[in-house]
């Protein structure tokens, strides 16, 4: 009987230590998550097949009027002020175009700093990344894309894909 009590006593003390250990581990993992302020919001893929045919040397501008998917291409809701939006594209590695620019415009804004239709940034072959669009108020923000491309000489149909990674951060 005494042995049983002793055993259960030891088990309870072991349980006490285990609880502290597990909590310490969970706390450490949770703290890492809290300090991680960069959040990848989306990876946007633009395929030229979605934009239609483009002949050699032809310059074409695509807007949401023609390609619906370019309207509100990015939409996010912030719950704190001053969230910085980063856009990282692989435009510099796209071949088959002499020009390829993506104009990112505000289509939904919060506060008075920006207006709908303002250009937030322009991504080009020479400048494929942008940091940062300051979302200075809390609420829902949305952005339209406007794409202008000029096809260079190609020997056959050339599929191309542009990938844009959108991320948000609390610091510039």
């Amino acid at each position: 009987m005494k042995k049983g009590r002793r055993l259960s006593g030891l088990l309870l003390i072991m349980l006490s230590i285990t609880i502290v250990g597990v909590s310490a581990y969970v706390y450490e993992q949770a703290s890492q998550t809290i300090t991680q302020t960069i959040i990848e919001i989306a990876t946007i893929t633009l395929k030229n097949s979605a934009l239609g045919n483009l002949n050699e040397g032809e310059t074409q501008t695509y807007t949401q009027a023609g390609v619906a998917n370019l309207g509100d291409a990015i939409s996010l809701t912030t719950t704190t002020a001053n969230v910085y939006l980063h856009l990282d594209s692989d435009l510099d590695s796209v071949s088959g175009y002499s020009t390829y620019s993506i104009v990112v415009k505000f289509s939904q804004v919060v506060g008075a700093t920006y207006s709908v239709g303002d250009t937030a940034t322009t991504l080009t072959v020479g400048s494929p990344d942008y940091s940062s669009i300051d979302l200075d108020a809390t609420g829902t923000w949305a952005f339209d894309f406007e794409i202008t491309t000029t096809a260079s000489s190609v020997s056959s149909d050339t599929p191309s894909t542009v990938t844009i990674i959108v991320s948000a951060e609390s610091t510039v």
Partner: protein, 85 residues
């Protein structure tokens, strides 16, 4: 007709409710597990991939801290009592 509890009675009842027993141990362990689930479960806890984390993780961590202290303390006291008897 029911008589109202006087203040010392309330204190005594509260004391018996929170004094280390297997009931308080199980209750505190249940709360501790709940706090861990709250933190670890992706759709309701800290690991939600939204910015900023919602609900505020600080409260979840405080909850984890309090429940850890209680569960660990109750377990240790009951274990110590068992060993002592």
């Amino acid at each position: 007709m029911k008589s109202r509890m006087n203040f010392p009675e309330i204190i005594n009842r509260t004391k018996s409710l929170v004094s280390p027993s297997y009931f308080t141990l199980i209750a505190s362990i249940a709360a501790w597990i709940a706090s861990i689930v709250l933190i670890m479960f992706p759709t309701i806890g800290l690991t939600t991939p939204v910015y900023p984390p919602n609900p505020t993780p600080v409260y979840q961590l405080i909850f984890l801290g309090v429940t850890t202290c209680l569960a660990s303390l109750y377990s240790a006291i009951l274990g110590y009592r068992q060993l002592k008897e």
